[in-house]
Symmetry: C2
Subunit: 149 residues, 2 copies
């Protein structure tokens, strides 16, 4: 599909910040995060900027600058992370509008729009089942256990 890796990167960022925050409360820099994610710090800052607008993280400037979580990791669901990125759903309608003088071309878009909307709802509902904290704990345990108590 058209899959991009932005949710992956965003979740990785928050998970790493959570892990670090368990031993130190200091802000972490985009450069250090980038070392774990293995990408450029600007990519990290772009994503952090979106998550800051969504109220998930805070930036700090001046000396000892960097980023901190705005909430506990147990209170951040993947749904909120996904929403912070401002992405649309996985399916698009026609690249150029279909033929309006055909009953199918005229009527199919609203119908497909509803189908795709239901899918988006479903995706959001599923993403809301997992928090960053759960995901980090699973990551650290290295086991294959399913999530959710």
């Amino acid at each position: 599909m058209s899959a991009n890796s932005r949710l992956t990167v965003a979740v990785h960022i928050l998970s790493w910040m959570t892990l670090v925050a368990r031993t130190r409360a200091d802000p972490v820099t985009s450069e250090r995060i980038a070392l774990s994610v293995n990408t450029n710090p600007v990519v990290i800052r772009r994503t952090l900027g979106l998550m800051q607008k969504a109220g998930l993280v805070r930036s700090h400037r001046g000396a000892n600058a960097g980023w901190t979580l705005a909430r506990s990791a147990g209170a951040i669901t993947l749904r909120e992370v996904f929403a912070a990125l401002g992405e649309g759903g996985p399916f698009a309608l026609h690249p150029s509008p279909p033929n309006a003088s055909c009953p199918v071309g005229r009527g199919i878009q609203p119908v497909l729009g509803r189908v795709y909307g239901a899918l988006d709802d479903l995706i959001e509902r599923q993403l809301s089942q997992t928090t960053i904290e759960q995901l980090l704990d699973e990551t650290l345990s290295g086991t294959s256990e399913p999530n959710r108590p």
Copy 2:
């Protein structure tokens, strides 16, 4: 997201073929389908080729050539159409592998893989709820005037 329109085009193709088949059993050409979808016939043939491999449609060559449904539209779900296109899920893992010397970088991919896998299952389950026939009937009920297909 990088949403593409292939499922939309595929569903449009099958819906249009179903509508036409209600009055004539003859094969329809990619060129005629392209007029309704408003794109190039080759785009239509590419998608039809994938759906033929999946057993959803049949191609006919020689004189009076074209395409026909391989099954009744009530027996084709959106899930099968989607599967025929051979697309992956909406979310990708890291573009370049994360830092393996970090606990998060080392462990997050399998965990995210399971999260994304659960989403793919959910999407498939939802798509399996709708048939081409249902979708066409909804499409036609939304349009008022009958017109040439």
